[in-house]
C-alpha cells in the first residue's frame, strides 16, 4: 500500500475533458512536482485530491483510505492540506487568527490552538506579521500565510499550488528553504509550479501533464529532457546552468 496514490482519474466539465486517466504514486517524505502548461489540469487535479471536485472516474487513496468523494473538510482531517493558487486570506482576521483557525484541527481549545499557531508562524518565519490583518499583507506574505495556515492543521501531505508565483528572487529563495524545512519535518509535498528553477532544485520526482493527460514522469532531469515536455511546455530544452 502506497502513501498516496491516484488511479486512472478523470474529470469532465460538460464536454471538456479537464483530466483524463491520470495515475501517479507519491512516496512518504517525497517532494513531488506537478508541471504542465496553463490549462493542462494541474489545479483541477488539486481540486480533485482536496475534494472540491468529485472525479467522474478513477480513485484516490491516501494512507489506506479512499478519499475521492469525501468532502474537503473530511479530507483535511485525514491529513491532506492544500493552499490555493489564488490566495484566500481571511482578510478581516489577524494573521495569528488565520493560523489559529487551522490549528483548531488538532487543538482542544483556544489556548492550545494559539500555541500551535505561534509555533507554526515561527516555523514559517511569519511571526513578525502575527498582529497584522491578513488583508494588509503583501502577496509574498499572503502566499506564506496560505502555507502556514495549511501546515497548522498538521497534515501528513500538503498540496502547494503555485506558491512561488509573484515572489521576487529573495522571497523565492526563502520559500525554497521553507519547503525544505517542511519536508524535513516529515510532511510529504505535492507542488504545482511554473518556475523551473524551483521544480529542478527541490523535487524528488516530477509528473508532467498536458491537456489533462500524462506526458512524462520521473526524475526532474529526465522529465525536462523528455521531447514531448520540451515541445509542449518548456519550448526549449532546460539548461541546468541557466
Amino acid at each position: 500500500m502506497s502513501f498516496f496514490e491516484i488511479k486512472k482519474i478523470s474529470k469532465r466539465f460538460g464536454g471538456v475533458k479537464a483530466v483524463t486517466d491520470v495515475s501517479f504514486t507519491v512516496q512518504e517524505g517525497e517532494i513531488f512536482g506537478l508541471i504542465g502548461p496553463n490549462g493542462s489540469g494541474k489545479t483541477t487535479l488539486f481540486n480533485l485530491i482536496s475534494g472540491f471536485y468529485k472525479p467522474n472516474a478513477g480513485s484516490i487513496h491516501f494512507q489506506g483510505n479512499r478519499i475521492d468523494g469525501k468532502e474537503p473538510h473530511q479530507i483535511n482531517r485525514l491529513g491532506v492540506a492544500r493552499t490555493f493558487q489564488v490566495v484566500k486570506p481571511l482578510k478581516r482576521m489577524t494573521v495569528l487568527d488565520n493560523v489559529m483557525v487551522g490549528a483548531f484541527a488538532t487543538a482542544t481549545g483556544p489556548k492550545e490552538a494559539k500555541a500551535i499557531a505561534c509555533e507554526t508562524l515561527d516555523f514559517c518565519r511569519l511571526d513578525h506579521r502575527r498582529k497584522n490583518l491578513a488583508g494588509e499583507l503583501t502577496i509574498g506574505d499572503r502566499k506564506r500565510l496560505e502555507i502556514t495556515r495549511a501546515l497548522a492543521t498538521k497534515p501528513a501531505l500538503i498540496l502547494l499550488d503555485e506558491t512561488f508565483a509573484g515572489l521576487n528572487h529573495a522571497e523565492q529563495d526563502d520559500s525554497i528553504k521553507l519547503i525544505g524545512r517542511i519536508r524535513d519535518s516529515g510532511v510529504t509535498i505535492i507542488i504545482v509550479e511554473h518556475i523551473m528553477k524551483v521544480i529542478m532544485n527541490i523535487s524528488d520526482k516530477v509528473h508532467a501533464i498536458n491537456f489533462g493527460e500524462t506526458m512524462a514522469e520521473g526524475t526532474p532531469s529526465k522529465v525536462v529532457s523528455h521531447p514531448e515536455v520540451v515541445r509542449a511546455y518548456l519550448g526549449e530544452p532546460y539548461d541546468h546552468h541557466a
Binding site: H73, N76, R82, K88, P89, L90, M93, D97, V101, F104
Partner: protein, 331 residues
C-alpha cells in the same frame, strides 16, 4: 477584565435604572430596547460574524412567541414556559431550513430566509384551528408592574451578549469568522462549513425565539402580522445590527437602543414636539410634517441606514473611535 469594563458598567447602570426612572412609558421603551438587544445580538452572530445575512428573523421570533402563547392556549401551561420551549421550537424550524438552504450562498441564502419569514407568517394565518389565525393569541399578563418584565428582559439581554461573547472566544467563533471571510478556505482547513453555519443559525434562532416568548408574555397579545412581520421584526433586526455595528459584541446592544428611540421618535412625532409646534404656530408645512411623520418611519429608517453606511460603515460600535474623534475635533 478590562475589556469587559464597558459591558459591566452599562449592565450596572441598566440594573439600577428602574429605581431612577419611575415612569411606565420610559420603562416600556427600555424593555423593548432590551428585547431588541437579544434579537440584534442573535442576528449579528449569524450575519455579522458568520456572514450569513438573514432577512427572516421574524420566523424565529414569531415561532418563539407562538410557542409561549399556544402552550397556554392548548395545554394551559404558563406562557413563561415559552422562555424554555420557544427557543427549542425556533431551533426546530431553523435546523431543517438551514440543512436545506445553507447550500445557497450570499444573497441566495438571504432570499431563502425572506421566504421562510413569509412561509411562517402564512402558516400561522392559515392554520387558524391551531393558532387562531388572524384573531391572534391573547394571554393575561402575569404582572401589572413593568419592573419584573424589565429585569427579565435585562437578564435575557445580558445573557445573549455574554452568550455571543463566549461563542466568539472559542473554536466555533473562529470557525464562524473564517466562514464569513472565505468559505472555501475554511473548508480546506478542515471546517465542516455546513455544520458550523447550522450551529450559528441554531444559536441565533434560539435567542430570537426567547425574545419572541418574552414579547408574548410582556405584550399579552400577538397575531401573525405582528410577530411574523417582515418590516417590523426582520428588517428591524438588520437595522439594529447595521446601525449598532455589524460583527461587534456591543454593536447590536447600542443599535437596539438607538433604533427603538428612532422608531418612537417617528411614532410620536418627535415625542410630540413637532405636533405641538404645528398646533401653536399653525404653519402649513409644519402641519403637513406632523400629519405624515408618524407614518414616515420607514422612510426615516431608510435615510438613517444610508447615512450610517455612508459615514460609519462599521456602525456606531465599529466606528466608535472615529466618531469620538469627529466630535472632539469640532470642539
Amino acid at each position: 477584565m478590562k475589556k469587559h469594563t464597558f459591558g459591566i458598567v452599562i449592565a450596572g447602570i441598566l440594573a439600577v435604572a428602574p429605581l431612577l426612572i419611575d415612569n411606565d412609558y420610559y420603562l416600556h421603551l427600555m424593555i423593548l430596547a432590551l428585547m431588541w438587544v437579544v434579537i440584534g445580538s442573535a442576528w449579528n452572530l449569524l450575519a455579522g460574524y458568520t456572514g450569513q445575512v438573514s432577512f427572516g428573523d421574524a420566523a424565529f421570533f414569531g415561532t418563539g412567541a407562538y410557542t409561549a402563547g399556544l402552550l397556554h392556549d392548548h395545554l394551559g401551561w404558563s406562557p413563561w414556559w415559552g422562555l424554555l420551549f420557544g427557543p427549542i421550537t425556533a431551533i426546530m424550524v431553523a435546523v431543517p431550513f438551514g440543512w436545506i438552504c445553507f447550500r445557497l450562498r450570499g444573497a441566495y441564502f438571504a432570499l431563502a430566509t425572506l421566504a421562510l419569514n413569509e412561509v411562517m407568517r402564512h402558516t400561522a394565518t392559515i392554520m387558524d384551528g391551531f393558532t387562531s389565525g388572524m384573531a391572534g393569541v391573547m394571554i393575561l399578563q402575569s404582572f401589572t408592574s413593568k419592573i419584573p418584565y424589565y429585569y427579565i428582559a435585562l437578564a435575557l439581554a445580558i445573557l445573549s451578549v455574554v452568550c455571543v461573547m463566549a461563542v466568539m472566544g472559542h473554536r466555533s467563533g473562529y470557525y464562524f469568522l473564517s466562514i464569513r471571510e472565505d468559505q472555501d478556505a475554511a473548508e480546506s482547513l478542515g471546517i465542516d462549513t455546513h455544520f458550523y453555519k447550522m450551529i450559528s443559525l441554531a444559536i441565533a434562532a434560539g435567542l430570537t425565539g426567547v425574545a419572541g416568548a418574552l414579547y408574548m408574555n410582556y405584550m399579552g397579545f400577538i397575531d401573525p402580522e405582528v410577530v411574523f412581520s417582515l418590516h417590523d421584526i426582520s428588517i428591524m433586526a438588520i437595522l439594529v445590527g447595521i446601525v449598532g455595528g455589524v460583527g461587534t459584541i456591543y454593536g447590536p446592544a447600542i443599535g437596539a437602543f438607538v433604533m427603538v428611540l428612532a422608531q418612537e421618535l417617528f411614532r410620536t412625532g418627535g415625542f410630540g414636539v413637532i405636533t405641538s409646534l404645528a398646533e401653536s404656530t399653525g404653519n402649513a408645512s409644519m402641519i403637513t410634517i406632523a400629519n405624515n411623520m408618524t407614518q414616515a418611519h420607514t422612510l426615516g429608517f431608510g435615510i438613517l441606514v444610508v447615512l450610517v453606511i455612508r459615514f460609519m460603515p462599521n456602525g456606531i460600535a465599529g466606528d466608535w473611535e472615529m466618531l469620538v474623534k469627529a466630535v472632539t475635533k469640532k470642539r
